[in-house]
């Protein structure tokens, strides 16, 4: 049982790690492009925006297991096989790119238009705006989006077992659920919960420390609220 779980852990991290990396590399520019080509954007191109947006929507609406099957010939072309960990990375990454792109789009839209104008007034071009304003200013949100993407990918990776990729989710389904090894099932679920909590914690920490650089010192608003309420209850 020990080596089985250990191997599954590594499989999950391997698949999720690589697919996250690819999703970020592919989704970041796509998300920025969605903002730039939109009406009123720096590279306004309504047709391109509609096309990209539609592709993203279709890719996002596809259930992961169907996406995996649909992409099989592409997966074989890329990795040379349709089974195993490597083969699972391809559909995971492709499923995550549009997901991440939408999150990036939202994050980039939050950037104050005045900053873009300021850089233009200094003589910057669109590339300068992307590099010096849009990416650095949206970074805390983009990091939070990456965390969300990783967590979603861990969920998706459970289905990767269907192509023999292994991983924690696969153990939970095959051993725990199908072979009635309830203890093992709960154990894997517990491990997943711990892994996801750690990732969420690390992501929040990174996003917050970047934000704090922007001067928001002291505890997060929520914590402050809690403290205030305890203080009032004491006085009462």
């Amino acid at each position: 049982m020990q080596p089985l779980l250990e191997q599954a852990c590594w499989d999950t991290l391997y698949m999720v790690g690589w697919s996250t990396l690819i999703a970020v590399v592919g989704g970041l520019p796509l998300g920025i492009l969605l903002v730039l080509t939109d009406r009123g954007g720096l590279l306004q191109n309504v047709l391109a925006n509609k096309v990209i947006g539609q592709i993203v929507n279709v890719a996002r609406s596809m259930p992961f297991i169907i996406l995996m099957v649909a992409l099989m010939s592409f997966t074989r072309w890329v990795t040379g096989t349709t089974i195993g960990r490597e083969a699972a990375i391809v559909p995971l990454a492709i499923g995550a790119i549009p997901f991440f792109a939408r999150l990036v789009e939202t994050a980039v839209r939050e950037v104050d238009g005045g900053l873009v104008e300021a850089v233009q007034s200094m003589g910057g071009n669109t590339w300068t705006v992307v590099r010096k304003v849009l990416v650095p200013e949206s970074l805390p949100s983009v990091i939070a989006s990456t965390t969300t993407t990783i967590v979603a990918l861990i969920g998706y990776s459970a289905m990767a077992g269907t192509v023999g990729a292994g991983g924690l989710g696969d153990i939970a389904i095959r051993y725990g659920y199908q072979r009635f090894e309830t203890e093992l099932m709960w154990l894997t679920v517990a491990i997943l919960a711990v892994v996801i909590s750690l990732i969420q914690f690390a992501g929040d920490y990174a996003a917050r420390s970047l934000h704090r650089r922007g001067g928001q010192s002291g505890p997060a608003p929520k914590l402050r609220l809690l403290k205030a309420s305890t203080a009032t209850s004491k006085t009462v």
Binding site: G114, L115, A118, V119, S121, M122, G123, E137, R213
Partner: protein, 345 residues
């Protein structure tokens, strides 16, 4: 230094047309502080954005430092190389400062220099020099969120000066600041204007801004410049809205048997005891309804609303006397043109 002629900007959205600028002719001389004042929606923002072509005007031309910017290739957001180079020689400060929150104060000031492709050493030397100039040398490593509004605007100004511009555009730079900070920022702009010979074009909705630092001003209404000129020219213009806004005077409307006169004096005339002379020479009682004396664009200017007994027709001679003293006279309830004819009668 900045000339716009026939500048028109029409926004089209969903078939509707909104004319933000309707044939604006503006002439800003080198080394002066020029204020454009107007209510929101008057077209001030569109005007200042057309000057560095952040907005491409629908028609008309913009010339800055002898260069016709409207002739340079590229549309507003997709500006060509030459237009971008021209923009880098025009500094701009904003109402909401527009500092990058992810960068330190020093890095914010270095940003235009990065765009210009200056080396790291040169950038930090220049940035520290500018921060020193605006009085923020000790805040170089701070982040914008740690600064007060006035400090942020100082950083904004330092950043605008990084490319050694000859022209500074100020888009409501003090509108988000409290009165005291506003004064210190205006003082800084004035100092920079004098020290560096910087030409400043500013837009504002606050008359105090025009009063305290502008050499010239223009009043905008519904996309048009309705009045413009140097501050002393404006004060000498009969019935000038800007002049009366710069010097709001109280006092009731003239009754039938009274004549109410606005007297504006500047420079030499301000030191003459004209009112007591008038009273003694013509033996009339003068009541002062309201008065203000102030410094406008470095000039001592005063305005007074006085009341003379009797109808206008009875007071032609005393009013003529005031005119002879080189004072600007506006008789309330009388059209300036009629007034001249009346004087001849």
């Amino acid at each position: 230094m900045i000339t716009t002629s026939g500048l028109t900007k029409v926004y089209r959205s969903r078939g509707r047309e909104v004319t933000a600028l309707d044939g604006v002719d503006l002439h800003v001389r080198e080394g002066e502080v020029y204020g454009v004042i107007g209510q929101s929606g008057a077209g001030k923002s569109s005007l200042i954005r057309c000057v560095n072509l952040l907005e491409r005007p629908t028609s008309g031309t913009v010339t800055v430092a002898g260069q016709d910017l409207t002739a340079l290739a590229g549309r507003g957001p997709r500006a060509g190389k030459e237009l971008r180079r021209a923009r880098s020689r025009i500094g701009m400060v904003f109402q909401h400062f527009n500092l990058l929150s992810s960068r330190t104060v020093q890095d914010n000031v270095e940003l235009p220099l990065e765009i210009l492709g200056k080396s790291g050493k040169e950038r930090s030397r220049k940035a520290l020099e500018l921060l020193d100039l605006v009085g923020l040398a000790d805040k170089a490593k701070a982040y914008p969120a740690q600064l007060s509004g006035g400090q942020k605007q100082r950083v904004g100004i330092a950043r605008a000066l990084a490319g050694d511009p000859k022209v500074l555009l100020s888009d409501e730079a003090t509108s988000a600041l409290d009165p005291e900070t506003t004064r210190s920022i205006l003082q800084l702009l004035r100092d920079l204007n004098r020290q560096l010979g910087l030409t400043v074009l500013l837009i504002t909705h606050e008359m105090d801004v025009v009063k305290s630092i502008c050499d010239s001003a223009a009043l905008m209404e519904r996309g048009r410049v309705v009045e413009s000129g140097t501050v002393s020219e404006l004060l000498a213009t009969p019935g000038s809205e800007l002049a009366s806004a710069l010097f709001p005077l109280g006092g009731e409307a003239p009754a039938d048997d009274r004549t109410v006169v606005d007297v504006t004096f500047q420079g030499e005339a301000a030191t003459q005891p004209v009112i007591s002379q008038l009273s003694r020479t013509y033996n009339i009682d003068i009541s002062i309804l309201g008065a203000a004396i102030d410094t406008v664009g470095g000039l001592q200017v005063g305005r007074m609303r006085i009341e003379l007994p009797g109808r206008y027709e009875d007071n032609v001679v005393p009013i003529g006397f005031l005119r002879e003293q080189g004072l600007q006279i506006d008789v309330l309830g009388q059209e300036p043109v009629l007034l001249k004819e009346g004087a001849q009668l």
